[in-house]
């Protein structure tokens, strides 16, 4: 049967709004070096490099080629994947497959995005083909706005709850040395005073545009034990896509279609004997592009019942000290280098499993963690990590 796979090296850059001091390959190199140092490996130990990036965001065709040397890909097998928002997790999944298959023993996976290069929102808007109608897309923000409206109407959540999610994210970010936005927010009121981007999404409701990279070293069972004393085992990964049949690109606002998150979570839990997610899993790093989305994602991932997501927030269950911490890193609301964002979710969940998250290490002992990614027309990638298999 297939090899078991562990995360044995974790590296990320400090995430920032602008990085004029480095070009794109140099930025990626920072994360790669950090991951190699963490794993105590040399470049020549890497047998395959899988990169993930949305090339239209920076206007670089084949960016993995530009950074071949900096990404340790020079003279090494590998390729680039891109699946929209989920890209950084798709890259990890292919790295996982490469090691699990025995095609290699040590793989490096890299997610990156340098958003100071261009208008990413515009690049996202270019997902819609002019063939289907020009100007009929508002980019991701418009879609999330529709989601937020629907969620408010259905669940009874109020703008205050969205603000509480933002406050939680900021608390985490301020304790995470790598996080981008550290606003030092004090109160819900402060957030409710920020202006609207697209009604009802406020400036502070949405994720920032960040520059950053995240790299993971994955190793087979045979090698992992030799590389590190604290391997984080990749118990499982799953990808579920969804087609926008109905009325919302990020999930169906008519409530008649299953969500990709539900399908992914149910399959992942079933395959891994998880019957009560918030008991069987110790924490989660989820891809929440807006604070509104975070509350409905709790429901889709079955962390709570339908329309109860905002109550988890109200009860402070998902705070760092809470019984089921979600995004102690500050999450996507604080840091969003798109191609790296899902990779960071997995990296941060792995740090929690290792107990190496430092200031933002959660109170609960983390033996099992889940990381999620969101992209495309509501595509979901989930990763289940464990301290021991």
């Amino acid at each position: 049967m297939a090899n078991r796979v562990a995360i044995v090296g974790i590296g990320q850059t400090y995430h920032k709004n602008k990085r004029p001091d480095v070009n794109m390959p140099e930025m990626v190199n920072e994360a790669v070096r950090a991951a190699l140092v963490d794993a105590q490996l040399r470049p020549k130990d890497i047998e395959a490099v899988i990169t993930g990036n949305m090339e239209t965001f920076e206007g670089v065709y084949l960016p993995d080629h530009w950074m071949a040397v900096e990404a340790v890909a020079f003279r090494t097998p590998g390729f680039k994947v891109s699946t929209g928002g989920t890209t950084g997790a798709s890259a990890v999944e292919e790295g996982f497959n490469f090691v699990a298959s025995g095609l290699c023993d040590v793989a490096l996976v890299i997610g990156f995005e340098k958003q100071d290069t261009g208008d990413t929102t515009a690049a996202i808007t270019a997902c819609s083909t002019p063939v289907w109608g020009k100007g009929m897309a508002t980019g991701a923000i418009g879609e999330f706005a529709k989601q937020a409206l629907t969620y408010m109407e259905k669940s009874g959540a109020k703008e205050e709850h969205a603000a509480m999610v933002r406050l939680k994210a900021d608390r985490g970010a301020c304790r995470n040395p790598y996080a981008h936005l550290k606003l030092g927010l004090k109160s819900v009121e402060e957030i409710l005073q920020s202006g609207y981007l697209v009604w009802p999404i406020r400036l502070l409701d949405f994720c920032p545009q960040s520059c950053g990279a995240c790299a993971l070293v994955l190793a087979s069972e045979g090698r992992a034990g030799k590389i590190t004393k604290k391997p984080v085992w990749m118990a499982d990964m799953i990808t579920i896509h969804q087609l926008p049949f109905r009325a919302g690109i990020f999930g169906d606002i008519t409530g008649t279609e299953p969500y990709s998150q539900e399908v992914a979570a149910e399959k992942l839990y079933e395959r891994n004997g998880i019957t009560n997610p918030i008991r069987d899993i110790d924490m989660a790093e989820i891809y929440e592009p807006s604070n509104w989305e975070e509350m409905s994602l709790y429901e889709h991932f079955h962390f709570c019942e339908k329309n109860q997501g905002w109550k988890m927030v109200e009860k402070r269950m998902t705070e760092i000290e809470g019984e089921f911490p979600v995004n102690p890193s500050g999450g996507v609301l604080a840091t969003n280098p798109i191609g790296a964002t899902p990779t960071i979710r997995i990296a941060e969940a792995a740090l929690q499993v290792r107990g190496d998250a430092g200031e933002h290490q959660v109170t609960r002992d983390v033996k099992t963690a889940v990381a999620t990614a969101l992209g495309g027309s509501n595509w979901t990638v989930m990763t289940l990590l464990k301290r021991s298999l």
């Binding site: 602008k18 990085r19 004029p20 001091d21 480095v22 070009n23 794109m24 390959p25 140099e26 190199n29 040399r42 470049p43 239209t56 920076e58 206007g59 040397v69 900096e70 340790v72 020079f74 340098k114 100071d116 290069t117 261009g118 208008d119 515009a122 690049a123 270019a126 002019p130 063939v131 020009k134």
Partner: protein, 156 residues
């Protein structure tokens, strides 16, 4: 709007003409910036040396391709060099900085171990040969770009 939509002759299919127009601004980074600033301010071509393999990179880079070391040792290289390969580019495209034909070449500057891709000028097409000696010609008005070198001309 520049967009034009027309039906394909004989088919129930249409062509939608359009564009993707997103301006991009690339950071040259600390290493790239230093190289470009030296071109602009001092008409100097700078390389970076790997202390492990001794290779001098022009254009400079921050990571050695063989040693993976982080590079920081700057050296000035000559503005004269040798042509490694070239092409007389006759086809035109939307992004060329000057009208074709353009002679592109890879030039290894004296003191450098890698080649710089650039253009050749003040030269007859028949005269261009691999191994010929060339010298950089700088533009009068320089803006910190690789195009601050106007082209390389034959060394008299």
């Amino acid at each position: 709007m520049s967009e034009k939509i027309e039906q394909v002759e004989g088919l129930d299919a249409f062509i939608v003409e359009g564009k993707i127009d997103i301006p991009n601004t690339y950071s040259a980074g600390a290493v790239g910036s230093r190289f470009l600033i030296e071109l602009r301010d001092n008409k100097k071509i700078m390389g970076i040396r790997c202390p492990d393999c001794n290779r001098v990179y022009v254009p400079p880079k921050s990571t050695c391709k063989d040693c993976f070391g982080q590079l920081s040792e700057w050296v000035q290289v000559s503005d004269k060099g040798t042509l490694i390969t070239y092409t007389v580019d006759c086809h035109s495209n939307n992004v060329q900085p000057v009208e074709p034909p353009i002679i592109y070449g890879i030039i290894r500057l004296d003191g450098a171990d890698t080649g710089l891709v650039h253009m050749l000028g003040e030269v007859d097409l028949e005269q261009v040969k691999i191994g010929m000696r060339l010298q950089a010609v700088f533009k009068e008005k320089r803006v910190a770009s690789v195009l601050d070198i106007k082209y390389f001309k034959p060394l008299a």
